[in-house]
Symmetry: C2
Subunit: 470 residues, 2 copies
Amino acid sequence: MAKAPVLTPQADDFPRWYQDLINKAELADNGPVRGTMVIRPYGYALWERMQQEMDARIKKAGAQNAYFPMFIPQSYLTREAEHVEGFAPELAVVTHGGGKELDEPVVVRPTSETIINEYFSKWVQSHRDLPLLINQWANVVRWELRPRVFLRTTEFLWQEGHTAHATYEDARAYASHIHTEVYGDFMTNVLGIDVVLGRKTAKERFAGAINTLTLESMMGDGKALQMGTSHELGQNFAKAFNTQYLSNGSEREYVWQTSWGTSTRMVGGLIMSHGDDNGLRVPPRLAATQVVVLAIKGDDAVIAKVREIGAALEAAGVRVVVDDRTDTPFGRRAVDWELKGVPVRIEVGPRDLESGTAMLARRIPGGKEPVSVDALAALVPGILEEDQALLLRQSRERRESRTVEVKNIEEAAEAAATGWGRISWAELGPEGERKLAEQGVSVRCIVAEDGSVPDADDQPGNVAIVARAY
Amino acid sequence: MAKAPVLTPQADDFPRWYQDLINKAELADNGPVRGTMVIRPYGYALWERMQQEMDARIKKAGAQNAYFPMFIPQSYLTREAEHVEGFAPELAVVTHGGGKELDEPVVVRPTSETIINEYFSKWVQSHRDLPLLINQWANVVRWELRPRVFLRTTEFLWQEGHTAHATYEDARAYASHIHTEVYGDFMTNVLGIDVVLGRKTAKERFAGAINTLTLESMMGDGKALQMGTSHELGQNFAKAFNTQYLSNGSEREYVWQTSWGTSTRMVGGLIMSHGDDNGLRVPPRLAATQVVVLAIKGDDAVIAKVREIGAALEAAGVRVVVDDRTDTPFGRRAVDWELKGVPVRIEVGPRDLESGTAMLARRIPGGKEPVSVDALAALVPGILEEDQALLLRQSRERRESRTVEVKNIEEAAEAAATGWGRISWAELGPEGERKLAEQGVSVRCIVAEDGSVPDADDQPGNVAIVARAY
């Protein structure tokens, strides 16, 4: 008789598989207020590692961290017309504080362009104050009608970058630098997730932006997930908040701005990119725990051996956990580490001691084989790099094999049933985009003929990538 | 003619000096909503370094980070009677979300005992699930009537630990471990701030705790600042939220709990402990920038030299910034680094190149002398350790010299005008505490005769430390 599966198989019901995995791997719970989530320690450790890797890249790009209040006077939101229209339906409003009704209600930030511009307009005086490059790690709130844990939650955690520049060109170049060198590099080389870099159509742009750059990835079910965006804001917020600088020639000029963000939604993307019917698979460069060394039995010599192996791997620069909780059956622990997607398991029982070997199980390609204990410290780092590359390759192959070239709206909608469609943007256009939207299919981004990010929507040869999306 | 002081002198007006320093060193601005603050990059870098150092200690104490929603159903707060009484006057309430009035208003967390217990009651089943050790880095809101930046703000950033244990003794030992090994160690050895560890009186306890341990420090004006607290919660929240476990003997038992927190208030404590009339002095172990290497003039050879010195110091493990912004006058930059309290400045001008020397200015003891450039990498790490120790010594000496032994309420109130008073707790008692409170003087903590943390208020020889406090 076959074992009952730990999770609903992906092929049976992908959304249910996703929810099962999140529960059983103890990544998150639903919160008590609709659409909120509790991020449990193992899920939070994924986010913490994302933060570390991203933060290093953001600092390398010259931005400094700061913190702005989450309570924003309602009047700020209304100053930029498109912005308020985009966010008004999603706002949470505080009407009472300290036991009294407030004179002016305050909103909980859905994003911080407005409050940050209020301060930029004070801090920026001269061209010497530019570029001003700020990043914030924070929680934000957008009231969600159809919440889904990690992907779309009422409160989520994110980083939001906000910058001000002297020229259009400088702002544009910085938005692009974040898009490729910070977000693209992190997602590709740490998350091991294939992302397509492109620009959003006017319809899909951020409320208040003149251009939105995006990173789109194909999930295990063929749907698209927007993994991050970087916006050129032009002078829209600068004009609304009077953010001006004195140029070299002593003219008062409005600054040019960017904003860019990535969130805990990436945890959802990680699960749906790399997860399989046995659970999560965490890319080694991201994993807080790259290797777990398990004692099969509570034998003193076995316990001593797993600790020794753990120490040797740690000395080799591997992030390792020793699991010697032998009052819990070994089988249950092994399944749990498999669910949690730790890349390598090393299992040691009494019989292994004599032979000087241990069983090495690889979560990412799968498979298990005995290896010499003495060889482990030399062997494991190479395995981890191999597995990192494998995840990216699998992610890329999925996108390539499930993307089809299409000629018209009917074919595009059909392609989106199982994957992505690529269609000439000149052919599709805003009108075709609107028709596809009626069928739940959206233009994820526009890319140039050669796969690069186009400078404008109407560049000849531009291709629209269409898909159903989370 | 004497130079106009950069800041209001401490001796003239300490609160104004504090506010001046925060503005001029660009640490923070007031936010638009009453009592909120904008933490600027240099202020945030202090907090970030605090987070790093604290987080490492918290993890070493076995706790794992997680994240709980900031929106808490109002009904949760009311379940623990003392807790709701303590926090009700300070709550911010969200009544509208997504354009509609909510069925049940939600409060923005003032602290997370209630929502965390809701989940602990699900996660804890067996004695094997204990101890459960959780920490959260988050923003919290307490509506403040008399806000002061960093010290008492409507929204602030903090870490809050929440743990559940099988026994009273285990919970008690953990609260004490956090108090001494995490908080005490961090404040003493990283912040360089002298702290007195003691227990709070019943009057000053956290709302819902059975015992509150505290760390109190004397600021530059002789007033006390509570730098952090660690609470034993007994079974109060466990009973309110039905958090039970199945013991070894298969009985259902309520867990015993702790909670503990430190916040951005520590940044205020840092300023008021170490700041002087020239600005902040940042302890080297905390400083994100330990050394700044300044080019006095924009000469190519000078620029090359400051970069070379910067690289050599970085290679010696020093956190260094090279300031070659020679389009800003040297004097202005030097004053700015002084204000910001970077421990060591190394100044290089054209004449220094010939002599192979540089001017080394020490912010913490003060003073300036020429040193050989070749000696810098060997010299600077030792200077930084010396300065770290000096700050702690100065902080301790201030507390010792401004604390007096007193015999009665009159003397206690007098002592609190300029520093701290120590009075027998058996003598003072809750009645005397009440009378002192009428004069704005509080019992900061109770310590044992030998200076240790007493196990109970009525232990013979217990001493109350009384002071005015922030």
